[in-house]
């Protein structure tokens, strides 16, 4: 009997275990990280990964430099209630930033930030492995890709340093199984970090191309001009007052006793920055970069041609002025939120939902037609600029003739008309590619006249979709884009991270700072930018039209002029966000009221009433981002930025 019993027990056990691999359900060919570096094509994917962390610039919800500064102001209507993530950056201006759960946490990638330390890890993984791929990946290509990755690695570090100041620099990756104590890294002193990322760029440059030959498949990748411009920007930033002898940060010491910021101003940093700028400029010119010149519609008047050059300089895809652009197709959202509806039907079309308007401060910043600030130009009625007058006939390409509009909208420099949309402004584009009064066209083909008063097509027609300041902008709009009541065909554009006029002005600034008295080179590079805008040179303009004619002759005067020039030239591109911080002027600007016109006004008089929309509060701590509390608590070797 026992035999049978044992047979049975054995039988059951066998059933259960007969296939000991019953639990091996995982097939052999699952993807693993080793395969990522097995050949050229998979390595190329890893390279794309290194690029992929680039933030979506020019997108109001991810690029906090747009709504996070005083260039734009936006309708925060109860209907939106911050429900759209675009308001996250606007909230920075409203003072809603905190260390508990920081907005745009690029350190960790939370709340609208990109995970830049993941990016750096991937760059390091790539650099560790790219030279071991072999096979169909040639040594030259491996060198090229490694060089590109180094520049990206420098860029990711730099972006964090702009936001947080001193940061942990990850030169090499820690293994995943590393000890907790090892991975608790320290913030590295700011200047050491700068030196390291500059050296990364220097290492990379010899292996990079001067320009992209195969534009259809490679445009957007790192070139020497891009690398050198980045280096110029890095060095200019580190030489700027925020990071060069800023006593506000002087006390920041980590728990090893190491100071994270310098406390001595070092003017040699400006010299180094100026050299880097000059070298970048020379290389850019060598690579064929030049100012954008609009020539597509040759029947246009010179005035309109110039406006189009200025407007399209940032928008026209890959025009020669753009040194580097984030190649993400991101401008639709910017377009939809900032471009005015042009007729009543379109105002009801909910595919575009515009609510991003220009702040009155930016409207006032533009020069008079004489190329000097409106408050310095005696011929400009600065005090009564928000009173009504009738547009004169010589403004036909700028303002509809005889339109009742504010004086502020008349007698301004071309860049004002190229980029600011006001009540009575002319809109060229959206399918209407003929100037008003063009004898060779019917009125329906001619440019729009913008009406912005309440109930007018571009004005406030409901609680939604209006310019709360009474001004729209058009820097995001490509003139070929067409939005009608049922379609939206938005011409893809690029959003410039670096363009030539930016670099020129950086050079002028760095050079001016490095000298005791401005020299002709300073004037030359700022004047190049002014000339393209149809303005006379700095010295000439100030001498003839300003009530402070000697301003350009001093270092301090030139500093102010260059800063204003940057504000105007790069307006609405988000550059001001960084500039006023690096200049340490944010505490001046961002504590003044944000103002606008009365969008509820139905008549020109009512409409031009100036209203205070918000009084922001900017404190010193906001020069730097807060490190999230969780990050500080995870890594107790990190110290928080001052004030947070």
């Amino acid at each position: 009997m026992n035999l049978k019993k044992y047979i049975l027990v054995l039988f059951i056990t066998c059933i259960s275990f007969s296939c000991s691999d019953y639990l091996d359900v995982v097939p052999d060919n699952l993807p693993t990280i080793d395969i990522a570096f097995s050949d050229r094509s998979s390595t190329e994917k890893y390279l794309a990964t290194c690029y992929s962390y680039m933030p979506t610039y020019g997108h109001p919800s991810t690029d906090f430099t747009l709504l996070g500064s005083d260039e734009y102001w936006t309708l925060e209507d109860p209907y939106y209630n911050g429900a759209t993530s675009n308001f996250r950056s606007h909230n920075l201006m409203r003072g809603i930033q905190n260390a508990g759960s920081p907005s745009f946490d690029y350190w960790s990638g939370r709340n609208g930030g990109r995970p830049f330390y993941n990016a750096i890890r991937d760059c390091n993984v790539f650099l560790e492995n790219v030279h071991n791929v072999g096979g169909d990946l040639s040594e030259e290509e491996a060198d090229l890709w490694a060089a590109e990755t180094k520049v990206l690695k420098a860029f990711y570090h730099f972006q964090l340093m702009r936001m947080y100041g001193a940061i942990p620099i990850i030169r090499e990756n820690f293994p995943i199984a590393a000890d907790t104590d090892d991975v608790r890294v320290f913030r590295e002193p700011f200047d050491e970090g700068i030196d390291y990322i500059v050296s990364l760029i220097d290492e990379a440059v010899p292996n990079l191309p001067l320009q992209i030959v195969n534009v259809t498949t490679e445009l957007g990748r790192v070139t020497i001009p891009m690398a050198l411009t980045l280096k110029a920007l890095i060095l200019t930033t580190s030489a700027s007052p925020l990071f060069n002898g800023n006593l506000d940060f002087a006390g920041l010491v980590d728990n090893r006793g190491i100071s994270l910021f310098n406390d001595q101003h070092d003017n040699k940093k400006w010299v180094r920055a100026a050299q880097a700028c000059k070298s970048a400029i020379d290389t850019c010119l060598l690579a064929g970069h030049e100012f954008f010149d609009f020539k597509e519609l040759n029947y246009l008047s010179d005035t309109t041609q110039r406006l189009m050059s200025l407007r399209q300089a940032a928008t026209e895809r890959w025009n020669k002025e753009i040194i580097w652009s984030a190649n993400k197709m991101s401008t639709n959202e910017f377009y939809n939120r900032s471009i005015p509806p042009l007729n009543a039907a379109q105002a009801g079309y909910n595919k575009t939902d515009p609510y991003i308007s220009a702040s009155l401060r930016m409207v006032d910043a533009y020069y008079s037609s004489n190329g000097v600030p409106i408050d310095e130009d005696p011929s400009f009625d600065y005090i009564d600029r928000y009173t009504i007058t009738s547009a004169p006939a010589d403004h036909t390409h700028y303002v509809s003739a005889n339109y009742q509009t504010a004086k502020a909208n008349l007698n301004r420099e071309p860049r004002f008309y190229a980029n600011v949309v006001f009540d009575g402004a002319i809109w060229f584009g959206n399918g209407r590619l003929r100037e008003i009064g063009d004898p060779n066209s019917s009125p329906s083909e001619q440019a729009y006249v913008i009406g912005m008063k309440r109930t007018e097509p571009s004005g406030k027609r409901s609680g939604l979709r209006h310019a709360v300041t009474g001004y729209w902008t058009r820097k995001a709009s490509h003139y070929k884009s067409v939005v009608s009541e049922s379609t939206s065909l938005i011409e893809p554009s690029t959003f410039p991270l670096m363009r030539l006029s930016d670099l020129y002005l950086l050079y002028a600034e760095a050079l001016n700072e490095s000298l005791d008295v401005p020299n002709t080179d300073v004037y030359e590079y700022i004047d190049l930018v002014r000339k393209r805008a149809g303005l006379k040179g700095v010295v000439e303009s100030w001498t003839n039209h300003s009530n402070i004619p000697g301003k350009p002759t001093t270092k301090e005067g030139m500093r102010e002029i260059i800063r204003k020039e940057r504000t105007i030239e790069l307006a609405f591109e988000g550059k001001r966000y960084w500039d006023i911080r690096r200049w340490k002027t944010a505490s001046k600007w961002l504590n003044q009221p944000i103002r606008g016109l009365n969008a509820n006004g139905e008549t020109a008089e009512d409409f031009t009433q100036v209203k205070t929309l918000f009084v922001p509060q900017f404190t010193t701590k906001e020069y730097l981002f807060p490190i999230a509390l969780t990050d500080l608590r995870t890594n107790t070797n990190l110290v928080q930025n001052p004030g947070w």
Binding site: K5, V26, L30, G109
Partner: protein, 1155 residues
């Protein structure tokens, strides 16, 4: 009772006749053996020597039995058998010895054959010897629970073979001694002992089947005798789970000790209750118990679809000894359900039909449109004095005057879209019976649950929720050979649903997010549109506002779910190998499918363009020309399509034997399970889930007094690396049946009729850790073509290269959670009427999967590694009391009460260093603890806000007077996440209890049941309830929250600065400051409710028989009729889901008939 032979024969099945023949034959053998039972010697002729000191009577009788041929018969409960006596006899006759005992102890002895009957006797000492048939003649009738005679029942004198069988009508006649005890038995019923006690008519009624079941307890992979069960297993009578609902899980709360259960929604199809055995001790992923129906793992949805009428037994297994056999899957406890099988006997047809009316237990009250407008204006002005108000005085007045309702709408969306009540129907039908060879149980049921949404006559399709459930079940048992039984189970559950596109919950929410005064639900056509034949839905601007009426009417959703199961079981008796050895093999195939699809039109939006007050006429304008669609469109990609295939096999070898006082049993089980979900979403998820295991149980008991048990599970799961794949889970148990001890006697045994102590300890595992996507922890999860990590190069961004991402780094050390469970229990019976059971337990759950907290972001890992780091601790008790008493054969009362207390806490939790903020550490805090701010009160004014620690945003701008003031815990003058502390009880209850009473008098019975829970906190969602706010995540949809009446009545306003008002200062924008989780929004979730009431009437048997029925019952019942709680806004059981589909109160009428 009148006896009608023809009818009787007609009703009796073939088997009953067989049984009759069989039993008559057996009875013949009994009678035939009468003569042989006589012993030759009388008691006077038997001499024996004894010397016993201070021994129990029982022991004395045993001694005598050993020395002679005589056996003693007595009824233990009636005799103080444990009384101690001393005895000395030297070659004395038995009669003399017994006379002595009789004298001292008030007992009398009567010898019949070799049997000596012992009874109480207060008169003179008596020892008699009697001849068979020489005594009294008794007669009576043996009936079943319904009072029907049981022909062929055997009635035997205890301890003898003397006896008889009942006649066709169940009557019998028998000559026996006056004080004899009868043993009555019948196939399918538990044998009964009845004392004659001098009666001449002894009627015997068998109790219902479930009474029989109580004696055997369903345990893992088998059954055990109730007395020998050591582990903590709670069994519920299926009838107790019967509530007027088509969802079984809603009946669980408070019915079963050890089960924490609560229901958050009343929406048909979404109303499954959450239930956890002894609370939740894990915090990684799955905390729900393993659910086994007929031995096969199923989901809680499958459980919810079960019909109580089909359930043979329902039990939950709580401790390690009960669940260790399930090894790596049993740590969260096991719910075990057996469905009914056919029994040998006549065909029984049973039908139950119910129809019920249901309505919300509590209705959410919303402020009227006029108040809404006034307070919306207040909300705007109180925050910004310069703002325009949204509603002009003229609009408010005209609305109030009730001018044209289309121009000045004042919608009560609730009234417009919701019905006060709805009707539901359920029907249930089953047939069972069988013969010697085969037995069957076939059941089918149908239920229809309707939602409480209004169906508009304007619409051509029904949008109200309509959930139909069908169920078919067939259990067939076939005796292939005398020792082989095959069981075939076929089972299908089918749900067919039709309902609104958004589902019930979202429809309810949309009602609370729609503007009441902006537009009406629809317009009557004006002149321009009088010939259109679509509905002219109201909206504003470009139609981005929520019009819940349009959303309800514009389309519908269908879904269908089916579970089909085929199961074959073979039972082989292996007594030819060893007595008591049995083999059981089970093969199961389960297929599940689900799909849903949607069809919808696109509404045409209209608004008033112009209104002429003189003529009271308006003209309309269409808001979305060219976009509306009158015809239904269908999108194939909408909706889910899910399928799953499970194969399961199980072999059980069972050995069970008694040797005198020793009883041993052994069990060995092998299982194999594979589940495939092919469209799971990723490669790793699409791989089969598999389990493999061997488990065993060995029990030994001695003399029904001492019990020991050893269990083990040895299990493997495909989730883990080879080195961690198999786990061994042992458990042991001990029990002492104190009241079976010899010393337990006299008054003690009549007061405490039962006392059993037991303890178990062991390990059980849980392999359901981590998210499903993270199933293979030992593998890294790499996506080499991740579009989220790609980049576009080229002039037109035309060259796209995907990237590489890692969503998990490999870790081959990860393994299951282990639960160490200790259970100590006591079972106590008092006066044979009250049964009391109590268990206390502790549990330590280690290896809980957690994300590592010590890896800084600067490591740059795309996924933070996880590890078996956490440890949870649980403790608690479950108590239950049953009371049964029959005052007479016509009046009976039963009562039940139970309480479950389950508390669990984190004892090791992977978290950042909290040494400076100890209040943030989870260690020592309950699992499921909410962290939040301590709200002190509302700010008096802006100045106070500016002079207090900074909260959220800028004081005076983003928050100020009338907003919530929080406590600064760490004193750093900033309120931020470091100032959060544990607040309130966990969000699932720690205590669940229930108590009920049933009583019957003659044909009537009545029962009620109260259920409650406590030690639970929940939080009002301040964002979802914030009036006038757009809380919709969708930027293209404009929603506007309704104003709850309680907020309208009680909020901070500038005239009455009530710093303890229910709602802070009104606002038309979201105030982040007031939106955080804090004590301000915390509410006590406790409640007690009258969960069910039932009044039933059973037609007297006589009348039922006239209708050819064996029973007929008419009953009225109700659930959730009364609720008592501190929280009044909505049903407290819904907790934070108060704005969703409400829990229902049900009034029900039903009939049940059996043939």
């Amino acid at each position: 009772m009148k006896y009608k032979l023809l009818q009787k024969i007609y009703i009796m099945s073939r088997y009953t006749i067989c049984a009759l023949i069989l039993q008559v034959t057996l009875a013949g053998m009994l009678m035939a053996s009468d003569g042989n039972a006589q012993t030759n010697k009388g008691m006077e002729d038997v001499f024996l020597s004894l010397e016993l000191k201070n021994k129990t009577l029982k022991h004395v009788f045993e001694q005598i039995t050993q020395l002679t041929d005589f056996k003693f018969a007595y009824e233990e409960g009636r005799l103080a058998i444990n009384k101690k006596i001393s005895l000395e006899a030297n070659n004395t006759s038995l009669k003399k010895i017994l006379l002595g005992i009789s004298k001292k102890n008030g007992l009398s002895f009567r010898r019949v054959g070799n049997q000596i009957f012992v009874v109480k006797h207060s008169g003179t000492p008596l020892v008699e010897e009697l001849q068979i048939g020489a005594d009294v003649t008794i007669s009576g009738k043996v009936t079943d629970e319904t009072g029907e005679g049981l022909p062929g029942a055997t009635i035997v004198l205890k301890g003898t073979t003397i006896g008889t069988t009942a006649a066709l009508d169940g009557s019998y006649k028998l000559n026996i001694p006056e004080e004899a005890i009868l043993v009555v038995s019948f196939v399918g019923y538990q044998a009964q002992e009845v004392a004659v006690a001098g009666r001449s008519v002894v009627d015997i009624q068998f109790k219902a089947d479930s009474e029989v079941l109580e004696e055997v307890v369903v345990v893992a992979f088998g059954v055990q005798k109730k007395e020998s069960v050591i582990s903590s297993i709670e069994t519920v009578r299926p009838s107790e789970l019967r509530v007027p609902s088509s969802n079984l899980t809603t009946a669980l709360a408070g019915r079963v000790s050890g089960l924490i259960a609560y229901q958050r929604s009343g929406e048909p199809g979404q109303d499954d209750a959450n239930f956890f055995i002894r609370g939740v001790t894990t915090f990684s992923n799955v905390a729900s118990p393993l659910i086994l129906i007929d031995g096969v793992e199923m989901t809680s949805t499958d459980l919810s679809r079960l019909q109580t009428d089909d359930i043979e037994s329902f039990s939950i297994m709580k401790d390690a000894a009960a669940t260790a056999l399930y090894g790596a899957r049993g740590a969260n406890g096991v719910v075990l359900v057996q469905t009914k099988e056919g029994k040998e006997g006549k065909t029984t047809v049973s039908v139950r039909i119910e129809s019920s009316v249901s309505m919300p237990t509590r209705e959410l009250k919303i402020a009227d449109p006029i108040t809404y407008m006034r307070l919306n204006n207040e909300a705007v002005r109180t925050r910004n004095k310069l703002s325009d108000v949204p509603y002009s005085q003229q609009k408010i007045e005209n609305t109030q005057l009730g001018l044209n309702n289309y121009v000045y709408p004042a919608n009560d969306w609730q009234d417009l879209l919701l019905k006060n009540n709805t009707m539901n129907y359920r029907g249930n039908f089953n047939v069972s019976g069988g013969g010697k060879v085969a037995r069957y149980y076939i059941a089918s049921s149908f239920s229809q649950d309707n939602g409480t949404l209004k169906v508009d006559k304007k619409n051509n399709f029904n949008n109200n929720i309509d959930l139909k459930k069908y169920l078919l079940r067939s259990n067939i048992n076939i005796n292939l050979t005398p020792s082989t039984e095959a069981i075939v189970r076929l089972h299908g559950t089918f749900d067919d649903y039709r309902g609104p596109l958004d589902g019930g919950k979202d429809t309810y929410q949309k009602i609370l997010r729609a503007d009441p005064v902006l537009f009406p639900a629809y317009y009557e056509a004006d002149e321009t549109y009088q010939y259109v034949d679509h509905i002219l839905y109201g909206n504003s601007e470009q139609g981005q506002y929520i019009n819940p009426y349009a959303d309800l009417v514009k389309g519908y959703k269908d879904y269908s779910r089916s579970v089909v199961l085929a199961q074959l079981e073979l039972k082989q008796n292996l007594s030819f190998i060893a007595k008591g050895l049995k083999l059981h093999a089970l093969f199961n195939l389960t297929r599940t499918t689900f799909f849903d699809l949607q069809r919808s039109t696109v509404p045409f939006w209209y608004n008033v363009a112009d209104y002429d007050r003189q003529s009271d006429s308006y003209s309309l304008t269409q808001l979305n020309p060219g976009q509306g669609q009158q015809f239904l469109s269908y999108n194939d990609s909408d909706g889910k399509k899910e399928i799953a295939a499970t194969n399961y096999s199980q072999f059980t070898l069972n050995y069970d034997r008694e040797f005198n006082k020793h009883s041993i049993s052994g069990l060995l089980v092998g299982i194999r399970r594979s589940k495939l979900t092919p469209n799971a979403g990723s490669l790793q998820e699409s791989l089969p889930e598999r389990n493999l295991g061997v488990s065993g149980r060995f029990t030994y008991s001695f003399d029904s007094r001492y019990f020991t048990e050893f269990n083990f599970g040895y299990n493997g799961s495909e989730r883990f690396a080879k080195n961690e794949r198999f786990g061994f889970f042992p458990s042991v148990g001990l029990a002492w049946y104190v009241s079976n001890e010899p010393f337990w006697g006299g008054n003690l045994s009549s007061t405490i009729s039962k006392l059993k102590l037991k303890a178990t300890y062991g390990l059980v595992g849980n392999d359901a850790i981590g998210n499903k996507v993270d199933r293979f922890f030992y593998l890294s999860s790499v996506n080499l073509n991740d579009t989220g990590y790609g980049y576009s190069y080229g002039e037109n961004a035309g060259y796209y290269v995907p990237g590489v991402s890692t969503s998990r780094y490999a870790n081959n050390q990860i393994t299951w959670e282990i639960a160490q469970k200790l259970n100590i229990g006591v079972e106590l019976g008092l006066w044979d009427k009250v049964e009391f059971r109590a268990d206390i337990y502790t549990e330590r759950r280690s290896n809980v999967l957690q994300t590592r907290a010590d890896i800084p972001t600067t490591m740059g890992l795309q996924a933070t590694p996880q590890s078996n780091l956490g440890v949870g601790k649980g403790r608690g008790f479950d108590l239950s009391i049953d009371y049964n008493h029959a005052f007479s054969s016509e009046l009976w009362v039963t009562g039940r009460a139970n309480i479950t207390y389950a508390k669990s806490e984190y004892s090791k939790y992977e978290e950042v260093d909290n040494s400076e903020t100890p209040w943030l550490s989870r260690i020592g805090q309950p699992i499921g603890q909410t962290y939040g701010y301590i709200a002190e009160r509302l700010f008096v004014d802006d100045i106070e806000a500016q002079n207090s620690p900074t909260q959220f945003g800028n004081p005076g701008v983003d928050y100020g007077g009338g907003d919530i003031k929080y406590k600064d815990i760490n004193g750093d003058d900033i309120i931020n996440s470091l100032d959060r502390v544990p607040i309130g009880f966990p969000t699932s209850p720690q205590i669940v209890y229930g108590m009920g009473l049933s009583a019957g008098y003659k044909s009537w019975d009545f029962s009620f049941f109260f259920q409650g829970l406590s030690r639970e906190a929940f939080f009002i969602d301040p964002q979802a309830t914030a009036p006038f706010i757009d809380v919709d995540d969708d930027a293209s949809v404009i929603s506007k929250n309704a104003l709850l009446q309680v907020y309208a009545d009680n909020h901070w306003d500038e005239e009455n600065k009530d710093i303890y008002a229910l709602w802070p200062r009104l606002s038309d924008k979201l105030v982040t400051n007031n939106n955080s989780t804090s004590t301000w929004w915390m509410r006590d979730g406790s409640f007690i409710r009258l969960k069910s009431v039932e009044l039933g009437y059973n037609l007297p048997l006589r009348m039922a028989e006239k209708l050819s029925m064996s029973s007929f019952r008419l009953y009225a019942s109700g659930t959730n009729l009364l609720t008592f709680s501190k929280f009044k806004l909505w049903d407290p059981e819904q907790a934070e889901n108060g704005l969703g589909y409400p829990i229902q109160k049900v009034f029900n009428l039903g009939i049940k008939a059996s043939f």
